[in-house]
């Protein structure tokens, strides 16, 4: 049975006034970004750009998992494949964002579409395994196709990012680009989930049988959701290899997908902002803890368990409830 807390955490079409206060959080986020842009050093700016890009991918996963009910273990591969696609393309055609972005979006959409088609009629555990398998196929290609992808060593030495010919490799430029992409992606996904198709996607999650009786084709709804979320994850992936001028096979590995799911759960799976909160929390914890102990994964595991116990629907829904009640 669906719990009340879950219901209040997952609906977009809810009682008026529930979303009041969203502007306060947006202002806080804008202030934080402003402070970072002015006072942040190069390392902090690159790290913030990474958080924003990974957070954008997690936000798109939130739409897939939280809004559509499609728990995918292949979304990391979508993000990573787009990153590889952009890095490889930059070696041949230059690394202008105007080219990298469409390359990343197309790579993301192509792999997401493949996942949608392979898992067309599956659900639950079978769906999870199929997305995992398709993701691992992508990893296998990346890992084995050494002459193109660099294999286990990954790729380095490709040109730095430019925007319409202007250099954009400075940490502040990367941060600004990642922020712009995060905002644009947030707006696009918000439009999607609030549009009729977004309501239909949530209907598919909650009452698939009723949706068929209403005349909705579930396979098409699934494919559309995969394409939209794949495009956003792909867009984020297209800038990712230029943050540290390196992309390795771990970005496509299933453990990356699992990490995105953990970030998603930490932030709140049926929220858009939760993607960034989850990514920030995970990456900051990872960075801080790994400099302190080798057993950082154990501590992150404990953080995850505590979150699931005390704020089972994630941090953003918990904050919302705290500040709207």
């Amino acid at each position: 049975m669906t719990s009340r807390a879950w219901i209040s955490a997952t609906g977009v079409d809810t009682a008026p006034g529930r979303r009041a206060g969203g502007w306060r959080w947006l202002c806080l986020a804008a202030l934080l970004c402003g402070v970072l842009a002015v006072f942040g050093d190069d390392y902090q700016l690159r790290f913030a750009a990474e958080i924003l890009l990974v957070g954008t991918a997690v936000m798109s996963l939130n739409v897939l998992v939280g809004f559509a009910g499609l728990v995918s273990l292949g979304h990391g591969a979508v993000f990573g494949a787009a990153a590889y696609g952009a890095a490889i393309a930059s070696q041949h055609w230059g690394s202008d964002l105007l080219l990298m972005l469409p390359v990343g979006v197309l790579c993301g959409m192509a792999l997401a579409a493949l996942m949608a088609l392979v898992s067309y009629r599956s659900s639950g555990l079978f769906f999870l395994v199929l997305t995992l398998v398709v993701g691992q196929m992508a990893w296998e290609v990346v890992f084995r196709w050494r002459e193109v992808t660099g294999g286990a060593d990954g790729l380095r030495g490709y040109p730095a990012l430019t925007v319409a010919g202007l250099p954009a490799s400075h940490p502040l430029a990367l941060f600004a680009l990642a922020l712009a992409l995060a905002v644009a992606s947030g707006w696009a996904l918000r439009t999607f989930v609030r549009a009729p198709v977004g309501h239909a996607v949530q209907g598919m999650r909650d009452q698939p049988l009723r949706m068929r009786a209403l005349g909705f084709h579930l396979g098409r709804l699934r494919l559309q959701t995969f394409l939209v979320t794949g495009a956003v994850a792909g867009a984020a992936g297209s800038i990712y290899p230029f943050v540290n001028q390196y992309i390795g096979p771990n970005a496509v590995h299933w453990s990356m997908s699992a990490t995105l799911v953990i970030m998603s759960v930490l932030g709140g799976i049926a929220t858009l902002a939760g993607g960034f909160v989850g990514a920030a929390l995970y990456l900051v914890a990872q960075t801080q803890l790994s400099s302190w102990t080798d057993r950082w994964q154990l501590l992150i595991g404990m953080l995850f368990v505590l979150t699931v116990i005390f704020v089972p629907h994630g941090i953003v829904p918990a904050l919302r409830r705290r500040f709207t009640s």
Partner: protein, 256 residues
């Protein structure tokens, strides 16, 4: 006048066990057909065949004369074949109005739009609001469907179906588990809306079927044993033997 729904020589078996043996039925616009019979009679299978969720092994299903036997449930819904389910299937994370608006948009073919067209959304909301008010749920319009009582959820179930602008409305146990008052309100809602649509009602509540339906089809072991007016059905010996049973002696005594 051509029947809205024609079921012709429909047969269905599951694992070589015949469940439906050559069923013929017709329902016209404005007519309400009750489908009754003991458990295992094949009512639900026939219902699923009418709505397209199950394909028959043989026979035809026609809507307004058009063969829809192989048409998917999704496409049938767009043609006006609308059904409810035994269990209440509402959208728990949406408001009552949002639930009905989803069905309004589905029937207007705007349910898959990628943009939030303000005018279309407002129109759908207005139509939904009118239906919600007609269904007596006006005070609950902004409530999440998960917060409704069981009776209210059944009403919402019916409102969703009515919002699809049905040509043929298939209702599966709409009053099961409802109080008499709730049941009465739901039947009134059905009565006010089925004037120009064909209605098929499956129910174990004999009183409801006899009150709402102008014709009743009785099934037993996959066979249609009677298809007649309520008065004729009450007097049919095969129906009494298979399903209705004899009135208890004290009821007979009271009647005489």
């Amino acid at each position: 006048m051509m029947p809205v729904l024609q079921v012709a020589a429909v047969q269905k078996s599951f694992a070589a066990v015949p469940v439906l043996r050559s069923i013929d039925l017709e329902v016209r616009a404005g007519e309400a057909l009750g489908l009754i019979g003991p458990n295992g009679a094949g009512k639900t299978t026939l219902f699923n065949i009418m709505s397209g969720f199950v394909s028959p092994d043989a026979g035809q299903v026609r809507l307004d004369g058009r063969d829809i036997t192989r048409v998917t449930p999704e496409s049938r819904a767009r043609l006006g074949v609308v059904r409810t389910f035994q269990k209440s299937l509402v959208f728990p994370t949406m408001t009552v109005r949002g639930n009905v608006a989803m069905a309004v948009r589905a029937s207007a073919s705007t349910g898959n739009q990628w943009w939030r067209a303000a005018r279309a959304m407002r129109q759908a909301d207005e139509q939904a609001q009118a239906l919600v008010e007609a269904g007596g749920l006006a005070s609950r319009a902004d409530t999440l469907a998960a917060g409704l009582s069981y009776g209210e959820q059944r009403t919402l179930d019916l409102l969703i179906a009515l919002a699809q602008r049905p040509r043929l409305l298939l209702l599966d146990e709409p009053t099961a588990g409802l109080s008499e008052a709730e049941s009465h309100r739901l039947l009134e809602l059905i009565a006010t809306h089925h004037a120009d649509i064909a209605l098929v009602l499956v129910s174990h509540d004999i009183d409801v079927v006899f009150r709402v339906c102008g014709r009743i089809a009785v099934m037993d072991l996959g066979v249609l044993i009677a298809n007649d007016t309520p008065q004729a059905i009450r007097a049919d010996a095969r129906v009494i033997a298979a399903y209705l049973g004899m009135p208890a002696p004290w009821v007979q005594g009271a009647g005489s």
